[in-house]
Every structure is written in C-alpha cells, then in structure tokens.
C-alpha cells in the first residue's frame, strides 16, 4: 500500500454521479450543423485555412496552429463550410469568438490518415503530431499537450494521470476509464516515453470503484511496468492537478511554479486516450466524452463531435422544460453558458441542465462573521476571509500580500460560507483589477521610456548636425587657407559653439540613459511579467469578464452587500 498524503481543507458536496453512469457511453448522432470555435485551447487562436463554401473531410485541418503555443482545429465530420465568423462560444467570458460553421453531409467521410509506431519515431515528431492532431488537456485546462510532453532526461520522475474527477455530476472520465482503460494506459505509456518519466501514478477517487477495477485490470492485462492505479479519498477539489500531485507524491507545487520543476507532470486520463488515438491511428481530436446531466430525463455520457450545438446535445438526454440555463463543467467551477447555440469544445466535459429547483439562487449575502469555515476548507491554505475583506475594500496590495494569486477559484470557500457570500466572485474581480492596473503601469513605463528615448534622439540629432556644420566650416577654412585671397570671415561663432555641445550633450545623454536604467532596476517585478503563456491567456479571458464584474461591484452596497449577480 502506497502511503498517501493529504492536502488541507476540501469539501464533500453531494456527488450526483450515479445518474449518468447507469448506461454506457452513447454515440451522439451527427448534428444538423457544427459550430467549431478556432480557439479551443490555451494559446494563440488557430488560423482558418478553409473558405466558405469549401467541402471538407472528416479530420481535415480547418484551423492551423499559430505560433509556439497553439493547437490545430479540425472538421469533426465531412461537409461544407457555411460560415467563418464571430459566434458565441462555450467560454466563461461570454464573448463571441471566431468559429467555423460546418453543415455535415452525413457521409462522415474521413481524410486519409495513418498513425505511427511511437517507439520508432523521434520525440520531436511525436510532439509535432500531437500539435497537428489538436490534442490538448481534456480535463478542462485545454493546454496544448505537445507543450506539456517535453522534458530533459531524468528531470521528471513521476507522470501523474488524473482520473480523480472530483467535481460533482461529471462522469465522463469515469465512463472512459471503465470502457477504454487499455487505450488510456497505452497513451500514458507514450507520454511516459516522451517525458522519460520513471513511473506513472494513476489517481482515481475512491467513489469510482468500477473505473479503478477496469484500470487495474488493464495494467495487469497489458503488463504495464511502472504503472500503478491508486484510489485516492473522495474530497473536492482532489482532482485539481496540484492537489492530486500532493496526495500521490507529497510534493506541494507552489503557485507560479511548474510541477515539472519538481519532477512531476500531470495529464488527464482522457488526454492520454487522445494521445494514443492521435499517435497510433493518426486520428485528430474530433470528439470527446460529454456528460449530460442535471434537469434531464435520462442523464448519460455521449461521445460528441466537437462543434455540436449544446441545444442538440441536451435534447438527446431529454432536457426538461423548466431548464433555465446550461452549465458547462461542474457546479463548483463550471460556467453558465451564454446560449444553447454554442458548440461543444475540447473543454466541454459536462453539460448540466440547470433549473431554479435544482440550483436555487443563493439567499442574499450577510456580512462576514469571520467564522473561518472558508479557511478551514481552502486547499491553497489561504485566509479567504481576509482576501474577501481586502477585495471588497479594493485594497489590492494587501490582497496580493495575502496571496490572492494562489487562489485556484475552486469555490470551496463560497460553498461553506454561512453568510452565503459569493467569495470567488470577489477574488476574480480583484485579480482582474490587479492585472489591469499592472498593464496600465507597464504601458506608462513604456511611454516614459519612449519619451526619454525621443529626447535622447533629438539631442543626438542636434549634436550630429552641429558636428556636420563644424566639419563643413573646417573644410571651408581649409579651402580658404589653400585659396590665395580669403575675403570672407570664417564665422568663428559656429566653431566655438560646435565644440561645446560635444561635451554637455554627451553628458546629458549619459545621464538620461543612467536614469532610465535606474528606473528599470528599481521597478517592482510585476505579476504580469512572470506569467506563463497559459496565465496570459487566462488574463485575456478574465479581462473580458472584468467589465461585467466591475459593473456588478459598482452596484454593490457600501458595506454589507456583495456584488449582485443578475440572474438573467
């Protein structure tokens, strides 16, 4: 028995997982249209490479990866491109993004594709294949897998495979593990190869005995050495990468630190499955397992083509009439979708049909009584009551001092708050405000530097001009000296003034440069400077919501009232 570790806090919300695990994964039919966003991953948006009216085949790239951190987007089935335009997307910003709309022809005709033997292929090529196959983290973070599967030899000891699935309602990983354990482990083996990892630890919460049994059987059947399936205690947010790494290895990965620096890398089980399909069969990421549950007649997991409109998907499960919103993800960290017309993306692990009966709106918030239940459950070991206080008071400096940016927004604090304060909302607000201010400050720094450079340039040009004049005069004097009868005065004023700027200007320029350097040196390191590309992408997303939250906060009362969420 491997000794397990604990992380601080955590909560036990009702799991509601049984509803959607009664029947096997069903194949969702090809919908009437597909709305495929070109930005389904962390990093740069894919660039469209098809034209409106063009016929595309299943698996054909419709968006090529752009820049280092990006991923390809494919046609999920064969059909005709009917539009490439801005549409609402399944994303918490609630803002439209560029999408390719595809009208399927029903033939589901594949583009020519073939896989490789990963043992015979260079690692660089394997990573390129993953990027071209659009494989990204399917746990919800959608970070391009090619970027995560790079390591120097002996740097990574442990590959953690995340099958914890700690959020209530979601069962897509559970069902995938029950039904396709073999391919998941084969994919994990590929990732282990790529990372030169010594061991693979597969963490599954102990409320999924069937998945644990299936995975253990697969490990034995396929004689995977270095692999171990470990049942971890059911405790939200035990499926957070950092929490799972802590539980399995005892390592604590601090905010802003990459787990790889501490010898651990973490992938979701569904990602491992897609890695295997992409490498061995050349199948790009065209579909994923989505749990459809909540206010439906028959909760069920579906294998869904990416781009399938949520409306069409939930109709399969029999969404009830009193459904008033679609939540993407779980009830703890999920997103209230802006519309049912948005397409399923690589991040869509679950759609919960919500009704006022299922998720009653919270009662009005009372003031914080400092009971510290939030601190008791915070997995990041923060003091949420202090962060709340500072965020509400817009004392952002203090909020950062109390480690606001270590908050993973898991929602455990708000879940237990007896005053029903929407704490996470306050933290998101504070984070986005801080990002904005730092960006403003950076812009100001840049403007000042530009201004100083401009002054320097003007001085330099003056000096050069003066030098040119002096040269000219010298030349003229020399010419005069050479000529027999110099009648014209040599304008001595110019020569003397030309020598003077030489020194003083140079001094002033040096001083300006020194000033600029000193300023640069004393400038505080900003959060925005140390960001990972993923965080930068998140900032952009959060920025989009910022205006909205700020508006809510500005409506909030002077002392007691939290920002009002408008329930529309």
């Amino acid at each position: 028995m491997r000794p397990l570790f604990k992380f601080h806090g955590g909560v036990h919300p009702a799991t509601h997982k049984a509803e959607s695990t009664r029947t096997p994964i069903a194949l969702a039919p090809i919908p009437t249209k597909l709305v495929i966003p070109l930005h389904q991953h962390v990093g740069n948006r894919a660039v469209p490479v098809v034209q409106v009216g063009e016929r595309v085949l299943k698996g054909q790239i419709i968006g090529r990866p752009e820049g280092r951190l990006s991923s390809a987007v494919h046609a999920s089935t064969s059909g005709t491109v009917s539009a490439i335009d801005m549409q609402l997307v399944a994303h918490h910003s609630g803002l439209p993004d560029l999408c390719v709309t595809l009208i399927p022809d029903g033939k589901d005709e594949w583009i020519a594709h073939s896989g490789v033997d990963y043992r015979q292929t260079e690692h660089t090529d394997l990573r390129h294949l993953l990027r071209q196959a659009g494989v990204v983290g399917l746990g919800g973070a959608v970070f391009p897998s090619d970027m995560k599967s790079y390591s120097h030899k002996h740097k990574i000891k442990t590959l953690v495979l995340n099958g914890a699935e700690c959020e209530p309602y979601i069962t897509c990983d559970d069902m995938l593990m029950r039904e396709r354990a073999g391919d998941i482990l084969r994919g994990a083996e590929v990732l282990r190869e790529l990372l030169y990892a010594e061991e693979v630890l597969i963490g599954i919460e102990d409320n999924k005995p069937e998945a644990i049994a299936a995975m253990q059987k697969a490990v034995l059947d396929d004689k995977h050495a270095h692999m171990e399936v470990i049942a971890v205690p059911t405790l939200y947010p035990g499926g957070g990468a950092k929490q799972l790494i802590r539980v399995l290895t005892g390592i604590e990965v601090a905010a802003g630190v990459r787990s790889t620096e501490m010898g651990v890398q973490c992938f979701n089980v569904a990602t491992a499955y897609c890695v295997w399909r992409a490498i061995t069969f050349g199948e790009p990421l065209l579909s994923r397992i989505v749990t459809v549950t909540g206010n439906v007649e028959h909760a069920q997991n579906y294998e869904v083509l990416l781009g399938t409109p949520v409306d069409e998907l939930v109709a399969l499960a029999g969404s009830r009439a009193d459904t008033n919103k679609h939540i993407m993800g779980g009830p703890m960290m999920g997103v209230d979708l802006p519309s049912g017309s948005v397409g399923v993306t690589k991040a869509t692990n679950c759609i919960i049909e919500a009704s006022p009966k299922l998720f009653p709106p919270p009662p009005p918030a009372l003031p914080c009584i400092r009971c510290t239940r939030c601190a008791d459950v915070c997995p990041a070991e923060l003091q949420p009551q202090e962060l709340f206080w500072f965020s509400k008071a817009k004392d952002f400096g203090k909020a950062q001092e109390y480690h606001l940016f270590d908050c993973i927004e898991c929602g455990a604090c708000a879940y237990v708050c007896p005053s029903q304060i929407p704490l996470v909302q306050y933290y998101r607000f504070a984070k986005s405000e801080i990002w904005q201010r730092e960006r403003d400050a950076q812009a100001a720094d840049l403007a000042r530097e530009r201004h100083e450079y401009r002054l320097m340039r003007i001085e330099r040009e003056k000096q050069e001009k003066a030098e040119r004049l002096a040269q000219k005069e010298k030349a003229a004097l020399a010419a005069k000296a050479a000529s027999p009868a110099p009648a014209v005065n040599p304008e001595p004023a110019h020569t003397s003034s030309a020598a003077d700027p030489d020194d003083t200007l140079q001094m002033r320029i040096d001083a300006a440069v020194a000033r600029a350097k000193a300023q640069a040196a004393t400038a505080q390191p900003k959060n925005v400077n140390a960001l990972t590309p993923q965080q930068q992408a998140e900032i952009a997303e959060i920025e989009a919501r910022r205006a909205k939250i700020r508006e809510m906060a500005s409506h909030a009362g002077a002392d007691d009232e939290p920002p009002k969420s408008n329930q529309g």
Partner: protein, 342 residues
C-alpha cells in the same frame, strides 16, 4: 450571468447562532435549579430589548430587517449579557446594558461582523462601571438555609424594586464567591478558612460551580459539532490554570486552586461562549492560541490583583483590541510555500 459555485452548503449565520443558544441551555437549566427562575426573566427582558434595539438601528442604518433580525446574533448577545449580570438586577439595568451593547458596540461599528469588541462584554463593562452596587447582589443559591424568594416576589423586585415586608436585599442576596474570596483575603483570612464558609461547594461557589459545569457541557457540544474550534477554550483554560497554579503552588495560603478559578465567575462561560465569538477573535489557529492565552492570564491578574472581582469581561475586551495585530502577525504559510519566509 451567475458565476460558480452554483451550489452551497445549507448553512447560515442564523443556524450557527441558534446552535450556540441551544448550547447555553444546560447552564441556564442548572442556573434555574440552583437560583430560581429569575434568570429567565432577565434573559427574556434582554432578548426583547436586543431585538427592539436591533430593529431600530437597522431602520436607522437603512438595512433590511428580515435577514438581520433572524440571524439570532442579537439574541445571543442578550443571553450572554443576562447570564453575566445578577439575575435580580432591576429591569432597567438589563435594558440599558443590552441596548448599549447592541446600539453602540455593534451597530455604530457597522453591525454584524464589524464590531471590534464583544457586545455582551461591553454591556457588562458599562453596567459594572455605572452601577457597581447593583452588580454585587447575587441570589443566594438554593439549599443554603437562607430565605428564598418566590418567583412572584422576584418579579416584584425586578420590576418594582419592592421586597416582601421586613426583608432587606442583603438577606436574600450575597456577593459572588470570587468577590467574597477577595474581601475575606483582605480581612486577613486564609484561603482554607474562606473555603470553609457555607457559600462554597466542592470546587468553587455552591450552585455557581454547577452552572459553570453546565456551560462547559454546552461548550463541549459546540466543539463536537465544530461550531467553535478547540484553540480558544483550551488555551484560555490552560493559561488560567497555569497562572493560578503557579501562584497557588508558591503561596497556597493566599491563592486558591486553579480549579476554583475554572469554576468561578464567568470562566467557563467565557472560555466556550464569549472568547469564541468569531467576529471579535482572531482567525488564525496560532492567533487564537495567543488571544485566549492572553485572556486567561489577564483574567487571573484582574481577579487576583485588580479592582474587580471577576476579570473575564475586561480581559476579553483588552484582548479584543489586539485581534487585528495578532491576525496580521500570525498569517500561516500557504500551499507550496512551506518553510519559506513570508
């Protein structure tokens, strides 16, 4: 748009406060058993005053009445204050003390969650400073062979200040065991001689020691359902015990046993119900230990060397002042940053 989390645990401030009120019941029951039902009258009086004051203040502050009146926090303040002062206190004292606690020490600082000082203890401090004589008339416990007032007679005294013919207040009341101890020590008696007096029982004052035990039982219930954390009562009682123990060991003629201190005055009520007010105590584990240990030390020092018989209220208020500082000093390390400097 509505943002996550979309589910919350069904808990509320009003539920927490209600549980604390319930936890007070064993102590109150024993109080009634030993000292008669007068305490119920002052609890009722304080409750009505607290709710009325709360309503007026909410109205003045333009806050909704419903959610705040039903949060039970004003009731808790009222009960704690009523339990801290003599049961036979005249009605207007209860009203003044409670109204001051709610209006001045709670609402003028921003209402629920924003008051730096424990409102009940502020109410107590106001009363003991303003009406010191009234605060010394405690009912003689049941079974002492003295004259016992009927419930009707108690009511008559509380509301009209009238005692049955021929009775003086001193005949039906007494000073608290702590007060008596202090006075008799001044008169030159030894601890042993004083402890032989009829008002003392097994551990401390007859009757009052049992009430203290009742509060301890209620406190253990709160610990078991995790409404309060162990840090505050344990650190307070340990600190009080240790300080009293040292003095007792050095000079047992002039200093009573630590157990006497535990079961006297407001020690048990304070340990489990007053220091544990979340609003006015520190939020960090280390901070709670420092806060409660400080309160234990101060309680002892005031009892043994101060001008008042009991030190619980002033010790609490003095430590309340330190809470922001204690919290700032005791911020724990966060996930992944163990062993690092702040």
């Amino acid at each position: 748009m509505w943002s996550s989390p979309f589910i919350t645990q069904p808990s509320s401030v009003s539920q927490i406060m209600l549980r604390v009120l319930i936890a007070l019941i064993p102590g109150i029951a024993l109080y009634v058993w030993y000292f008669g039902p007068a305490i119920l009258v002052s609890i009722a009086l304080a409750s009505v005053t607290a709710l009325a004051t709360e309503a007026v203040m909410l109205k003045l502050r333009q806050r909704p009445l419903g959610p705040f009146l039903s949060d039970n926090s004003a009731l808790l303040t009222a009960w704690l204050l009523a339990l801290s002062i003599p049961a036979l206190a005249p009605w207007w004292m209860v009203v003044v003390g409670t109204a001051f606690a709610i209006a001045i020490s709670k609402h003028l600082y921003g209402g629920l969650g924003n008051n730096p000082f424990n409102p009940a203890m502020i109410g107590y401090a106001v009363l003991i400073i303003s009406f010191p004589v009234h605060m010394t008339h405690w009912i003689t416990p049941h079974g002492m062979g003295g004259i016992e007032l009927s419930f009707g007679e108690q009511l008559d005294y509380i509301f009209n200040g009238v005692l049955p013919d021929g009775l003086k207040l001193d005949a039906v009341t007494m000073a608290t065991p702590l007060d008596t101890l202090k006075t008799q020590l001044h008169l030159g008696l030894s601890v042993n001689d004083i402890r032989d007096m009829p008002i003392y029982g097994h551990l401390a004052g007859k009757g009052s020691e049992m009430v203290a035990l009742g509060f301890a039982i209620g406190g253990l219930y709160l610990l078991s359902i995790r409404i309060i954390s162990w840090h505050l009562p344990v650190a307070f009682l340990a600190s009080l015990f240790a300080t009293a123990g040292i003095f007792h060991l050095v000079d047992s003629v002039h200093y009573v046993t630590p157990l006497f201190h535990w079961f006297s005055g407001a020690a048990m009520l304070g340990a489990f119900f007053i220091l544990t007010d979340p609003v006015t105590s520190p939020t960090t584990a280390k901070g709670k230990l420092i806060f409660a240990a400080g309160a234990g030390l101060l309680t002892y020092l005031i009892r043994a060397f101060g001008g008042f018989p009991d030190g619980m209220a002033f010790a609490t208020l003095l430590m309340n002042i330190c809470v922001p500082l204690i919290d700032a000093w005791t911020q724990p390390r966060v996930f992944g940053k163990k062993g690092e400097g702040k």
